[in-house]
Amino acid sequence: MNIDLQTKNIVKTKLEQRGNEYKIKAPVTGSVVLNNAVVASFGDGSLRFFGLNQEPFEVKAHKGVILTMSSNGQFVYTGGDDGKFLKISCDGQINEIYNFGSQWVDCVASTENYFACSSGKKAYLWVKDDSKPLIMDNSSTVGGLSFDLDGNKLAVSSYGGVTVWQRGDRRWKSSRFVWKGSHGKVTFSPDGKYLVSAMQENEVHGWRIRDKIDLAMAGYPAKIKSFTWAGNTPFLVTSGASEAICWPFDGKEGPLGRKPTCVANGGKQNATFVENLPQENAVFAGFQDGSVVLSEIDETKKSYLVRNATGSEVTAISISNDKSHILIGDAMGNILWSPLWAGDN
C-alpha cells in the first residue's frame, strides 16, 4: 500500500516525545516480556533487550530470521530459519536446546515447567530437567503452539483442526478439535474453557473445550495475524479488520450468537497487531501504516493515537510487567520504547 508520509508536519505523540526511537536494519519479528524487560526479535537473527534503567543491549542469537519467540518470565525461547531452538536468559546467555539442521523452527511455546517447539509436521515437548523431548506427530505442518495458563495442556494446530495434549498421570493424552481448513496461531482462554485458532481463511475459529461446540468468528477482510485476551470479561481481541474486533467470552456460551465490540478505528486500513493493556479493559491496535491506537473496549469511548504512521506494518507490541513501558516494532525495523505514563521516566 502507498502511504504518504508528511514527516515534517507530524505532531509527535506523547509517547514519542517521552520515549526513544530506534531504527534497526531488519524487520521486527516479535516481542515478549521477560522480567521487567521487553525483548524484541529481528529478521537478522538478533534479539534486543529493552530494560527500565539501562541502555538496550543486543544479543546475536540466530544465523537467520527469528521466526518465533516465547517467554516464560525467566527465559526467552526462540526458533529460527537456521533450524535452531534456543533458550536465552535475561542477561543474554544463549543455550541451544536443539538443532534441526536445514529445517526451520516455526513455532515455540513455554510455561514455567515445560517448553515446546515445532519443526515441520512434528511438535517437540520438553519436560523440565528432561533432555529428551516427547515427539508429537501431525499429518501436516504445525501452524501454532500454545500452553494453557496452568501449563498442563498444549495445543498444536495444523490443517484440519487443533490437537490438545493434556498431561495425565503417566503420559500425555491427546484430543482432536476438528474444523475444515488450515489453522495457525492458537490460544486458550485465560479460564481454560475455550480454545481459539486463527485460520488461513479470514476467520478465527473457537471451540468450547468441554463439549467441543464450534464458534465460527468470520467476516474479516484480512487474515488474522494477531490476537490477545483483554479485560475481565475477557474479550478475545483480534486484528484483521479496520478496527480491533473484540469477542466477549463471558457467560456460558461466550461469543455464540453475540456481536463483537469494535474499537480503535484505523480508517481504511487493517489492524496487523493487537495487545492488551494488562489489568485494564483496553487494547492497543497497530495498523498497516505503522500507527498504533489505544482504546477502551467500549464503543462509546474515544481512542488515542499513541504512535504515528511509519509506513510499515506493526509487527510487535509489548507492555513491561510493571506496566511502566511499551515497546512498538514494525516490519521496517522501527522501534519505539517509551514510558506509558507521564512523569514515569
Binding site: V65, L67, S102, W104, T141, K180, Q200
Partner: protein, 322 residues
C-alpha cells in the same frame, strides 16, 4: 513514502529427469551476482549447503471459500512469509515442484493469500521438458499435460538427443496444448537465466505483449491430447454486462477444466482496453489504458484446458457481442 517491492517468484515444474536439478544447480552456483532463494521439494537431492535453499513438502490446502477447485500451497505461504522477514532483500525466489505436481495450487496461492500477493508476485511458470520423453509422458500422465498447459516458458531440454523431425513433433505437440508458451531449446538447461527469471509473465501488462499463435492452434481436432486450447477474435465490440455474466458463469461451472485463460477485451462505449487472466476459477482483470491510436480495436481470448469443446465457448463468446 516507503513502498516494499514485490519479490518475483518463478515456479519451476517438469517431470523427473527432465533437467530441473541441473537448472537449479546453475541458479545456485553460477556467478550471477544476485541473491536467489530456492524452495525445493523434499525429494530433491540438491546436495548443496546453502542457507538460501529451503525444504518444502507440497502441502496442498483446500480453501473454504465455496470454490471447489481452490487449493493453495500451505507450505509456500509459510515459507514465503518467513523469507520476507529476512534482513536482506532477495532478488528472486524459485519454487521447485515435484515431477508429478499440479501447478495450479502454486499459482492459486498468489491469487488467494493476501500477504503472499502483497510481498511477492508470481513471475512465471517455467516447465522443463525432456525432448526425448515428453511425447510418451504426455500420453501417460495428465500432470505432464498440466505442466505444459500452465507454462509461460517451456525449456525443451536434451534437444541434442533427438533428430530434427522428432524435435518438430514435440514442439508441435507443445504448441497444441499451449500456444502461449515460449519454447526455448536447450541442452543441459544451458539457457541464459534472464530468459527464465524476471519475465513478469503474470502481469496483466504482459498479456498485451504476448501474441498467441492463433493460426497454428486454430481448432485442430485430430489430436489425442486431453488438454487443448481454443482462441477467439472479435472485431465487433463486446457488451460488458453480457461478458461478465457469461464469463462468471463459465468459470463457476467449468473452472475445474479451464486451466488458464487470458484475454484482451474491447467493450462498446469504453475507451480503455480490458485485460484479464485466470487460473481455474480465479482471475485478475483490470482496464489497461486507452487503445493505441493505430491498433485495431478487437477482442481476443484464449482458453487452455480440458473438454473445451463441450462448454459452448464459441456460442457464449458470440453472445457477448453488443
Amino acid at each position: 513514502m516507503q513502498t516494499v517491492e514485490q519479490v518475483p517468484v518463478t515456479v519451476l515444474t517438469g517431470f523427473l529427469g527432465a533437467g530441473k536439478t541441473t537448472l537449479l544447480n546453475r541458479i545456485l552456483t553460477e556467478n550471477h551476482g544476485r541473491k536467489y532463494a530456492v524452495i525445493v521439494n523434499e525429494f530433491g537431492e540438491q546436495g548443496i549447503d546453502n542457507d538460501l535453499v529451503v525444504d518444502a513438502d507440497e502441502e496442498v490446502f483446500e480453501m473454504n471459500n465455496g470454490c471447489i477447485c481452490c487449493t493453495v500451497r500451505g507450505d509456500l505461504i509459510r515459507i514465503l512469509g518467513g523469507l520476507m522477514k529476512r534482513a536482506d532483500q532477495l532478488d528472486a525466489i524459485i519454487v521447485e515442484t515435484t515431477g508429478l505436481a499440479d501447478p495450479a495450487p502454486v499459482a492459486q496461492t498468489f491469487f488467494v493469500d493476501q500477504d503472499v500477493a502483497d510481498k511477492t508476485k508470481l513471475d512465471a511458470i517455467v516447465t522443463v521438458a525432456d525432448a526425448v520423453h515428453l511425447n510418451s509422458q504426455l500420453g501417460e500422465h495428465h500432470e505432464a499435460e498440466e505442466q505444459i498447459a500452465f507454462a509461460d516458458v517451456v525449456l525443451l531440454n536434451k534437444v541434442d538427443l533427438v533428430d530434427e523431425k522428432g524435435l518438430e513433433n514435440v514442439k508441435a505437440r507443445i504448441k497444441k496444448i499451449n500456444p502461449y508458451a515460449k519454447i526455448i531449446k536447450t541442452t543441459r538447461c544451458a539457457a541464459p537465466l534472464d530468459e527464465i527469471l524476471g519475465l513478469n509473465a503474470f502481469s496483466l501488462k504482459r498479456v498485451l505483449e504476448v501474441e498467441p499463435d492463433f493460426l497454428e492452434s486454430d481448432h485442430d481436432h485430430d489430436h489425442d491430447d486431453d488438454v487443448t486450447s481454443i482462441s477467439f477474435v472479435s472485431e465487433t465490440p463486446l457488451n460488458m454486462d453480457k461478458f461478465q455474466t457469461w464469463f462468471g458463469n463459465l468459470l463457476q461451472t467449468h473452472g475445474q477444466d479451464i486451466l488458464r485463460s487470458k484475454g484482451i477485451l474491447n467493450f462498446a462505449e469504453k475507451d480503455e482496453r480490458y485485460v484479464f487472466q485466470g487460473v481455474h476459477m480465479l482471475m485478475d482483470a483490470s482496464p489497461m489504458g486507452p487503445w493505441p491510436k493505430n491498433a485495431e480495436r478487437n477482442s481476443r481470448v484464449v482458453f487452455i484446458g480440458r473438454n473445451l469443446e463441450n462448454m459452448g465457448l464459441q456460442e457464449g463468446f458470440e453472445g457477448c457481442k453488443s
